[in-house]
């Protein structure tokens, strides 16, 4: 095994996939795919069917557990990597072939989710019969190719490239935020020289202003153009470009312009050096001091997989985790940068509002005693519980059980409207699944603006539109899209027109093989929601949207709690319950409309932030935020995932479900669970799908079972469901960074 191979093994080029917290180096990243073997049984079979490697070669495992998928088994070709034969499908590049053979090729510009640029030349390998080393990322593998990755020629070539790259690099690693997770740093350990031969002046480049999120130190840039390709191919904003030529080349926007994308933070991860780093994280911590906790994002209903990097009691940053089915390896700017909101406006003590209208800190015992006492004095029908946007399934279950024990059934989750339909699961989840959207060839978006409601879903649609030129029709208020779309209308009448086939877009839907309809959850709050859904159902029926092999009828939810709340049956008995309530239990609910609440009502606010909810509260019970507790969240496609505690709770705060459990004891209606496991067994009796963690549970029955509706659609146009992308919940509203972003947005 040559030095080159050793070196390339020791390198992990895609740094976001590596968790620096593990202490020792991790060579294999964790790929999360729901059912790897089921998904491509033939691929698994094909891999196993390989002739066993000659006995003298050590067995190699694909880099990072990479799997081969053979779309057409006849197209398999065989190549030899360092003498080891691998079968790969036609059309793969040499670099991919090497990965499957277990050789990690050093690289800077190649990124498997972006187009191939081939401009860094770090990935040079030797190919037999080729006169020069070839750039493996751009070279298609040909049958019988003999690839050599650890020969002196390949090593020398890479050393040459490295010397050129370092020629103009400032070598300022000690003050660079990328230090410790920098591809250039890592690879120069393997291929760099200990001295430079360049005696001229190094070049310097003016830093660019890319907004409040991305810090630029452009002199460090190695012109790999990943950021340019990311901006135009994934984020869909053509703002960044490569300007100039030769040694004067630089990344920039040419004109003074901010990168206005909700995905801009991802350039921090894909930049292999420290040219683009996180502004809020700048000079805050070194990445080897951080403890990584694998968790789930709750700022929208997508449930992006994240890693929360913390130091001591503080969340220092949030980075994405790979999950092909949900967020691939990107996250939205809101997910990445809202964390400073976790440190502001936190509630840390139980408090009671005194006669003078001021809050006074009290002990848990006193606070719970008062709540229990008041709760018992009130007629059961007048007790209302509201679960907030960020509630986990366990606490919603506990709250529902508590209220039911008190004799009330008025409990709902904000965002679901006052008469949600929780009977048919297919009526409120994304039946196509997020990754399934890639197969679609026509989209009809009804009252939803995915770009602000669920940025990662929008990224999928953008990817699909870019790849297949799928048609997108949009019904709703004028909105920002980063792909081609037709604005069909603003109100539900347009839907009726499409349903009756009078609209030009109906033919586009009809001709589509895999049409997708996405209804925004903002529709839940409309009076005529049943009629809108009926119209959508008709469109679906007329256009073959729901077939045994394809389900294109989707609802795009807004909040992390919504899907689980509906699964658990958080449906209020009466839609006027707030108007007559005497006791309201707000579990992190800040956006519920309390205008109609009678003045003498007693309001308990249990939550982690002093946000809108506390204005009206009589008692405050401090709870832990999602970074501080374990909880199950179901995302919009029906996949349950679990957050894990990354940092300790603030002050005297407790987990939501524990507070409710304690309250039930004080109130004399003890809930029969004392641990998360016990609550989950209780959940199993209501919504067993919530326990199938990390696995999407499709809905079994289609919405065709819905009862007939006689309601007519109203003429009120759809309204935007999310006014400000950066501020949607208590945590993001408390965040300074998000405030800066929204200030720019308003400009």
């Amino acid at each position: 095994m040559g030095l080159g191979l050793l070196a390339s093994r020791a390198l992990r080029s895609s740094r976001i996939l590596r968790s620096p917290s593990n202490g020792g180096p991790t060579y294999f990243l964790r790929t999360i795919v729901s059912t790897p073997e089921l998904n491509n049984a033939d691929a698994a079979a094909a891999v196993q069917g390989n002739p066993p490697p000659p006995p003298d070669l050590p067995k190699r495992n694909p880099v990072g557990g990479a799997r081969v998928h053979f779309p057409n088994p006849d197209d398999a070709i065989e190549v030899f990597v360092d003498g080891y034969p691998v079968k790969i499908p036609k059309g793969m590049t040499v670099l991919q072939a090497c990965e499957i053979a277990g050789v990690d090729i050093p690289r800077f510009c190649y990124h498997n989710r972006l187009s191939i640029a081939g401009n860094c030349r770090m990935c040079l390998v030797e190919v037999e019969k080729s006169p020069k080393p070839v750039a493996s990322c751009a070279m298609p593998a040909l049958p019988g190719m003999k690839i050599k990755t650890d020969t002196p020629i390949a090593k020398k070539a890479r050393e040459g490239v490295m010397e050129f790259l370092l020629m103009n690099h400032p070598l300022d690693c000690p003050i660079c935020d990328q230090g410790g997770e920098c591809d250039l740093q890592d690879q120069s350990m393997a291929f760099g020289s200990d001295r430079g031969r360049f005696t001229e002046m190094k070049r310097s480049v003016v830093d660019k202003n890319l907004g409040p999120l991305v810090k630029t130190v452009m002199t460090r840039c190695i012109q790999c153009t990943r950021c340019v390709r990311f901006a135009s191919e994934v984020a869909g904003v053509e703002d960044l470009g490569m300007l100039g030529r030769g040694s004067g080349e630089e990344i920039g926007t040419y004109v003074e312009k901010l990168m206005t994308s909700e995905l801009s933070g991802n350039v921090i991860d894909i930049c292999p050096v420290g040219a683009l780093t996180s502004k809020p994280f700048a000079f805050k911590a070194r990445n080897w001091e951080l403890k990584g906790t694998e968790s789930i994002d709750v700022t929208d209903a997508v449930g992006s997989n994240i890693r929360i990097d913390s130091r001591g009691p503080e969340v220092m940053r949030v980075v994405p985790r790979l999950n092909e089915d949900i967020n691939e390896e990107w996250i939205s700017d809101k997910t990445r940068f809202f964390y400073d909101g976790l440190k502001r406006q936190r509630l840390n003590d139980p408090m009671i509002r005194g006669a003078d209208g001021r809050f006074k800190a009290v002990s848990w015992r006193d606070a719970l005693a008062i709540v229990a006492e008041v709760m018992h004095q009130i007629k059961p029908e007048e007790i209302v519980g509201v679960a907030g946007k960020l509630s986990d399934a366990e606490s919603m279950m506990a709250l529902k059980d508590l209220l039911n024990k008190m004799g009330s059934n008025n409990i709902f989750c904000e965002g679901n409207g006052m008469h949600p339909n929780a009977d048919l699961r297919s009526g409120y989840i994304m039946n196509t699944s997020i990754s399934g959207l890639e197969k679609a060839d026509a989209f009809l978006l009804v009252g939803t603006q995915p770009r602000v409601e669920a940025a990662m879903v929008n990224a999928r649609i953008h990817k699909t539109v870019k790849a297949t030129h799928a048609k997108v029709g949009y019904v709703g208020p004028a909105a920002d899209f980063n792909y081609d779309h037709q604005h069909l209308g603003t109100g539900p009448q347009t839907l009726v027109e499409i349903a009756e086939g009078r609209h030009p877009f109906s033919s586009a839907l009809k001709n589509a093989k895999n049409p997708v309809i996405i209804v925004g959850a903002g529709v839940f709050d409309r009076e005529d929601k049943d009629a809108v859904f009926a119209a959508v159902d008709t469109i679906a029926k007329n256009n073959n949207v729901v077939r045994p092999d394809w389900n294109g009828l989707n609802v795009l939810l807004l909040n992390a709690a919504q899907a689980a709340a509906l699964d658990l049956g958080l449906v209020p008995e009466s839609d006027k319950c707030i108007d007559s309530a005497k006791f309201v239990y707000l579990m992190g609910a800040d956006d519920v409309n309390l205008d109609k609440l009678p003045d003498d009502a007693f309001v308990v606010y249990q939550g982690h932030h002093g946000d809108r909810g506390v204005y009206r509260a009589n008692v405050i019970l401090p709870a832990s935020a999602f970074t501080e507790k374990e909880g199950t969240y179901e995302n919009t496609e029906g996949c349950a995932q679990i957050t894990l505690p990354a940092v300790p709770t603030v002050g005297d705060a407790r987990d939501d479900w524990k507070i409710i459990r304690a309250l039930s004891e004080v109130a004399g209606v003890r809930l029969p669970y004392d641990s998360l496991g016990a609550i989950r067994s209780r959940i199993r009796t209501v919504a067993p799908n919530l326990l199938e963690v990390d696995e999407r549970q499709p809905a079994t029955f289609s919405t065709s079972l819905r009862p007939e509706v006689s309601q007519k659609v109203s003429s009120t146009p759809f309204t935007p469901a999310v006014e400000n992308f950066y501020m949607t919940d208590a945590i993001t509203r408390a965040s300074k960074i998000m405030a800066q972003c929204s200030a720019l947005l308003k400009k």
Binding site: T199, E200, M201, R203, V206, K208, S232, E238, D239, L240, G241, M242, L243, G244, R245, G248, E249, E250, G252, T253, Y254, V255, E256
Partner: protein, 183 residues
């Protein structure tokens, strides 16, 4: 030992050759980014004139309609000619609109090619070759003389708007000892 001596000597030679300690940037226009000025900002209207509109059509007809962006260089050239030898940012935006791409894709091309001048140049734009052979034969001295004579710095325009000086790459004209081109 020998190696070190040789390296030392080489270094001396190099230092002798380097005329200034500051590395000077060598482009026809100095910056790779745009700074708004009264006579060059994106808000100024700019359009192809009627005669050139015909030419635009003709140029576009050379390319398949789904590869309009291939026409970017001829169109930039046309725009530069119409605008007296330089390309304001609004002209580049106009080109981007014609070929239906994002403006940044046009800026990329215009910054790459040194013969697109992105700041104002004089009526006569003098370019002095800065490539090695010419440099060794003294092109730097010639440039200095020109600059001194005109009383401007590189990439500046004389007050009367007649002359400006820039640097360019090899024009295969080394026989004449030095190449200057007028534009």
């Amino acid at each position: 030992m020998f190696g070190r001596l040789a390296a030392q000597r080489l270094n001396e030679i190099r230092t002798a050759f380097r005329r200034t300690t500051q590395a000077s940037r060598s482009f026809s226009t100095a910056l790779n980014y745009h700074i708004d000025t009264p006579d060059n900002n994106p808000d100024l209207p700019w359009e192809f004139n009627d005669a050139n509109k015909e030419k635009v059509k003709e140029i576009l007809s050379f390319y398949p309609s789904n590869y309009k962006q291939s026409a970017v260089i001829p169109l930039l050239d046309l725009a530069q000619q119409q605008n007296g030898g330089w390309l304001p940012v609004s002209a580049m935006n106009a080109v981007a609109k014609v070929i239906e791409v994002a403006p940044i894709r046009v800026y990329e091309v215009a910054t790459f090619y040194t013969m697109f001048n992105r700041t104002k140049v004089g009526k006569y734009h003098l370019l002095v070759c800065g490539t090695t052979p010419c440099m060794i034969r003294g092109s730097r001295g010639i440039e200095e003389a020109i600059l001194k004579h005109l009383g401007v710095k590189r990439n500046e325009v004389t007050k009367d708007g007649l002359f400006s000086v820039g640097e360019m790459e090899c024009m295969a004209n080394i026989k004449k000892k030095d190449a200057r081109i007028l534009k």
